[in-house]
Amino acid sequence: MFNQLFINGLIAGAIYALVASGFSLIYSVCKFVHFAHGAVIAFSAYFLYFLFSKLGLNFGFSVILSIIFASLLGFLINLFVYKQLRKRKASNVILLIASVALLIFFESLILLLFGADVKTIGYIKISKGIEIFKAIITPLQIVIIAVSIALLILLYLFMKRTKIGKAMRAVADNKDVAEIVGISSEKIYTWSFIIGSAIAGIAGILVGLEQNLEPTMGTNLMIKGFTSAIIGGIDSVPGAILGAFLLGFAENFGIWFLPSGYKDAIAFIILFIFLLFRPQGILGIKK
């Protein structure tokens, strides 16, 4: 039982980590809550469904196109909405409201384009799980965990080693000084949306393969990603990843004591506890 819950927690954590890392990357650089990140995730899952299940394109090709599409969607949202609002000196609260509006807009658009009924991508036939340490895990779930961890390592290396990654951390740290040494913060915001949304795209694809597609899937994932980011420290990408795995474990070990219907309630209770007693999160620095 313990092993099974541990593996379930790991799978949930891996997905939450992908949601939370892209979200918190954008937050730390741009300093506002981009809830429409959830819409990018949902759209990428639906786009894969459209390309692969509807048009019948090659699977690998569809996956790559979906990631590019998600990245482009994030880029365009920033270019046509957030950037325009920043030009008019809108506060971060206005940007937050705009992001909620965008989330609702894109969910409605999905509803309009694809309908309300549940969709399945159906690339992987429902397969019998493999037994490891008396716990059952499907090959797809192994792929989810592996892709998630590999991607998080790549993101870490990107932020530590590349010039753009360092500039993103510099803008996140002190935007005014970054401008003074000639780093254009608008350019770096654009980069954070491109990269954060590409990660969102991958998250959407993995979730779409593991679960069914529904128009509201983005909101549901966003709640988990947001909670993860708050737990770990919203300003810190490693913190958000830590928070994601903690949340995954808390939810799954929680159903040892509670009926499984309370799974989502656990996330909210943890969110409230952190907002009340440690709003800066585990790794966050109190300002």
């Binding site: 010039k163 360092k166 500039a167 951390r169 510099a170 996140a172 740290d173 002190n174 005014d176 000084v177 970054a178 401008e179 003074i180 040494v181 000639g182 780093i183 254009s184």
Partner: protein, 234 residues
């Protein structure tokens, strides 16, 4: 080297500088002193296009640089060190210096400049891989200056480099500034700490309520008018 003609500037439509005429020659240190709110920082920010310029001209090496974007100014050879030990606190010392060279594409040049800067500030070399937030106040200020120097400027704008530092550290910072100047870098230094600034400067301007009211060399400190500017109507 840099000439300011009848500059009027401020923030959000409010004029703070009311017609400044100013000049700095090559390899000169010029100090700008004056009481709080006299517009000293605004003058530096106007040069670096961080304030709103309403009228007047800023000319650098016979070229009009008024309102040029930051990266042009850096390429022209002007660097700015803002007030208050502004570093990227969650980046390492070396990463801070790399960011100083963000617009420099040439990696070899960066390496050479880095070696130069480490030579001038050996303490930074020693703490290369530490996060900037773990440095002492003086070290952070040196890092902020080094981050500007690594761009190899001809003109360095320093906004209150001694602010909030212990007297001993302050002295060290002023020494470093004098050393940097000896290598041919022109420096405009804005200071609350008037005495030490005037001592290392070749010339000094005194600013009051957005106007230059005095100009002179080291003897300026003995001027009776200084007292009245700082303490009000003696």
């Amino acid at each position: 080297m840099l000439k300011i003609q009848n500059l009027k500037s401020g923030y959000n439509g409010m004029e703070i500088l009311h017609g400044i005429n100013f000049e700095i020659k090559p390899a000169e240190i010029v100090a700008i002193i004056g009481p709080n709110g006299s517009g000293k920082s605004t003058l530096l920010k106007s040069i670096f296009n961080l304030a709103e310029i309403y009228s007047g001209k800023i000319i650098f090496k016979d070229k009009d640089i008024t309102k040029l974007p930051t990266h042009y100014l850096i390429q022209e050879g002007i660097c700015y060190v803002p007030q208050g030990r502004q570093v990227f606190s969650t980046l390492t010392v070396r990463e801070n210096l790399e960011m100083g060279c963000f617009i420099l594409e040439d990696h070899e040049l960066f390496k050479r400049n880095l070696a130069d800067v480490y030579n001038k500030f050996p303490v930074l070399k020693k703490r290369e891989n530490d996060l900037a937030l773990n440095l002492s106040g003086g070290e952070q200020q040196m890092l902020a200056i080094a981050r500007a120097l690594i761009q190899d400027p001809e003109l360095l704008l320093l906004d209150e480099p001694s602010l909030g530092l212990a007297p001993k550290v302050r002295k060290e910072i002023f020494q470093k500034i004098a050393e940097i100047n000896k290598e041919g870098v022109s420096i405009i230094i804005v200071e609350q700490n008037a005495k030490q600034a005037v001592e290392i400067a070749h010339r000094t301007y005194v600013l009051e309520s957005g106007r230059i009211v005095l100009e002179g060399e080291k003897e300026i400190l003995k001027d009776e008018r200084i007292k009245s500017i700082y303490f009000g109507g003696v």
